[in-house]
């Protein structure tokens, strides 16, 4: 599958923001002010894959609808900001960087899942 503006995950694996730590950064092609958007929104297969990733990795903190971490099913983050937060973590909180564990596509799938419902249910 492809991510962002038709870019492969590999070509995204460069710098998004200059200020980001070097763990995982990626590059946008095209106009620098174009925001990345989730290419999987509304796609059932991607949502199902995202649910599986969510319960394997995210659930322990974000739980069914928020817990130690915020309620991702009510996130107000932009698609791009969501992606960047998962990949790089959030400094000053216990949100770790998952950039070495999850591919951008997997994060987009999680995002598609949390945008598809208002809570996690088995």
């Amino acid at each position: 599958m492809l991510s962002g503006r038709g870019l492969s995950a590999a070509t995204l694996a460069l710098c998004l923001f200059a200020a980001l730590p070097p763990a995982v950064m990626w590059h946008r092609s095209g106009s620098a002010d174009e925001a990345l958007t989730d290419p999987f929104l509304g796609q059932p297969d991607a949502i199902a894959a995202g649910k599986q990733t969510y319960r394997s990795i995210c659930y322990v903190c974000h739980h069914s609808a928020g817990g130690r971490g915020p309620n991702l099913f009510a996130t107000k983050l932009s698609d791009e900001r969501f992606l960047e937060t998962v990949i790089n973590g959030r400094k000053g909180t216990q949100m770790p960087a998952f950039g070495l564990r999850l591919s951008p596509d997997e994060v987009w799938q999680v995002h598609a899942f949390v945008k598809s419902t208002d809570h996690y249910a088995n």
Partner: protein
């Protein structure tokens, strides 16, 4: 990695040398004899549980129920960092407090002045933090010789020079990318530094390892999950489930020097889906007795077979000599997450008795009075794809958990924090859970529930008479360890941030102090210049932060009656030279 000697802002270099040469920490190495006789060393606290029996009983008696109300802070210091939660037991030796903070940071602090002598800030590889399911907490250190032993969270054991924090040696325990992390205090027995590991929720195969205290060389490794053909392997299916079978060893054990026997608790099986490992699953949810020189298992006792509720039995066994049914008995006592308080004969692992610590336990319909083996309530086992089972009591956080109990030999009372709560569990559909190194390996969704207005209880159990002696409720869960003193005072903390002194005999509240953040660590008491001090770390984090939104913090508080602090002209502050150089004409 960074080890920092505090440079004193005021002292000139010559004066600094004088300060260091006279500084605490130079009063002699900790010997094997010091450890074996730790209980007799009234003024110090040289190992995690104060002594090998893990009593957390201080022989100091200046603070009593009559004067505890006069306790005041002597000094405090911030541990800084990211406020990831504090769960450690400090150590006190030769005038220095040694303790760990979140992310495995190590501090050596002059107890007289409150000034940092050295500290260590581990740096972790990219991606490591994603391996910390339950927060970046850390529980403590060990001392032997001139060295301080601490495990980094990423499964490395380090030995620091006690005097200056320089790393004497480092040993790799395991590969963190496979889900093994380490956050407990090592136990030093003779020249063995014995360590346990976390990672039960990541499908690790649990074990203990022993490293040579002087060199860091690996001496032995003993798995808690038997390989095919080994004793206990008959309690596992004839497949590969044992390879990811859990049984982590994530709290510090106990040691009986008379019989040269190590006692260590073992956690729950992986995954939480019991169908993946049908059988009793030795030695998960068990206490093991081992030879500390070889790691050979002498015997074990399992509390919860084929666990699917996260009822780790990792609790530190407390070694108590008492009278049971009219007979002098050498026991180990364990407060298990499964809700029961167990007493066993530590000479052979034979069950003596168990009593419930919480009400309405329903994962079992009862324990066999002779063997302690539970009759499982099958209705409370979450089955693959069969929907939620609820409410299961106790909840996965347990009737109690890792926070250490204390034992008062004068009163015969065992003090423990217990929590009355429940949970719902939903097991994933069959085939949905696949083991992947470094990913959570649970296969069950969970929901904790409050089961009433009051969750927490500080409880005293009369060990010889098999009954609860007193109970003090606390509206929020109790996650603080216990300290009891010969003066008759029980110290502990609560989620509201209050550090408490109770009358050990009755539970009556004597004194409290608001520390500013939830207390999930364990207090100690020590003597300095003839005065009794009590120290506690305060900082919400770890599992309690799953359930409570409250101010985070990171403080070491030290209390005494008319306590003194002698800053000695040095402070925990130094000029950043590049930002504020001395002006030169």
């Amino acid at each position: 990695m960074k080890t920092t000697m505090m440079r004193f802002a005021i002292a000139a270099s010559a004066a600094l040398a004088a300060v260091l040469s006279a500084s605490p920490g130079s009063a002699g190495p900790v010997t094997t004899d010091d450890l074996v006789k730790a209980q007799d060393n009234a003024g110090e606290w040289v190992m995690y549980g104060r002594d090998y029996r893990n009593w957390r009983y201080s022989p100091l008696a200046e603070i009593t129920p009559d004067n505890a109300a006069k306790l005041t802070p002597a000094w405090a210091m911030s541990t800084g960092g990211q406020f990831g939660g504090l769960e450690a037991t400090p150590l006190f030796h030769a005038g220095v407090l040694y303790f760990t903070a979140d992310y495995g940071r190590v501090f050596a602090v002059d107890a007289k002045s409150g000034n940092i002598i050295w500290h260590y800030e581990p740096e972790y590889e990219d991606g490591f933090n994603a391996m910390l399911c339950c927060g970046p907490i850390h529980r403590g250190l060990a001392l032997k010789g001139d060295l301080v032993y601490s495990m980094r969270l990423d499964a490395k054991l380090e030995a620091f020079n006690a005097a200056d924090g320089k790393i004497a040696w480092e040993a790799k325990i395991d590969e963190w990318k496979n889900g093994v992390t380490t956050n407990s205090a090592p136990l030093v027995v003779g020249d063995h530094v014995i360590v346990g590991v976390s990672g039960g929720e990541y499908g690790v195969r649990g074990y203990l390892k022993s490293f040579n205290a002087k060199t860091g060389a690996l001496e032995w490794q003993t798995y808690t999950i038997p390989a095919p053909g080994e004793t206990g392997s008959e309690t596992w299916p004839k497949d590969d489930s044992w390879k990811t079978g859990g049984g982590p060893t994530w709290l510090t054990g106990s040691y009986d020097a008379e019989t040269n026997t190590l006692y260590w608790g073992v956690g729950n099986p992986g995954s939480w889906q019991f169908e993946q490992h049908l059988g009793d699953n030795l030695w998960t949810d068990s206490t093991l007795a081992l030879d500390p020189d070889t790691g050979k298992i002498k015997w074990g006792y399992q509390y919860t077979p084929n666990d699917s509720w996260d009822y780790d039995a990792m609790a530190t066994p407390i070694l108590i000599d008492t009278t049971i049914d009219g007979k002098a008995t050498k026991t180990w006592a364990v407060s298990s997450r499964n809700g029961y308080f167990y007493v066993l004969d530590r000479t052979d692992g034979k069950f003596l008795y168990a009593i419930p610590m919480v009400e309405n336990i329903n994962w079992t319909s009862g324990l066999d009075p002779k063997t302690g083996k539970p009759t499982i309530n099958e209705a409370m086992k979450p089955k693959q794809g069969a929907g939620q089972v609820q409410p299961i009591v106790p909840g996965l956080e347990g009737g109690t958990n890792w926070f250490p109990p204390a034992y008062d030999p004068d009163l015969g009372l065992f003090f423990v924090g217990v929590n009355q709560w429940g949970m719902g569990l939903t097991s994933w559909e069959k085939g949905k859970l696949q083991y992947k190194p470094g990913d959570l390996y649970m296969g069950v969704d969970y929901q904790m529930y409050r089961m009433g207005e009051t969750i927490g209880h500080i409880r005293a159990i009369d060990v010889a008479n098999k009954k609860v002696a007193w109970d003090v409720p606390s509206p929020l869960p109790v996650f603080s360890g216990m300290l009891v003193t010969k003066g008759g005072v029980l110290f502990t903390g609560d989620q509201r941030g209050r550090f408490l002194a109770l009358d050990a005999k009755t539970g009556k509240e004597l004194w409290k102090f608001q520390t500013g953040s939830g207390i999930n660590a364990s207090p100690i008491s020590y003597e300095l210049d003839g005065k009794q001090y009590v120290a506690i770390l305060s900082g919400l984090g770890g599992d309690p932060s799953f359930y409570y939104s409250a101010p985070k913090g990171g403080m070491l508080w030290v209390f005494a009656i008319d306590g003194k602090v002698d800053e000695g002209g040095a402070y925990n502050a130094e000029v950043i030279e590049k930002m504020l150089p001395a002006f030169k004409q």
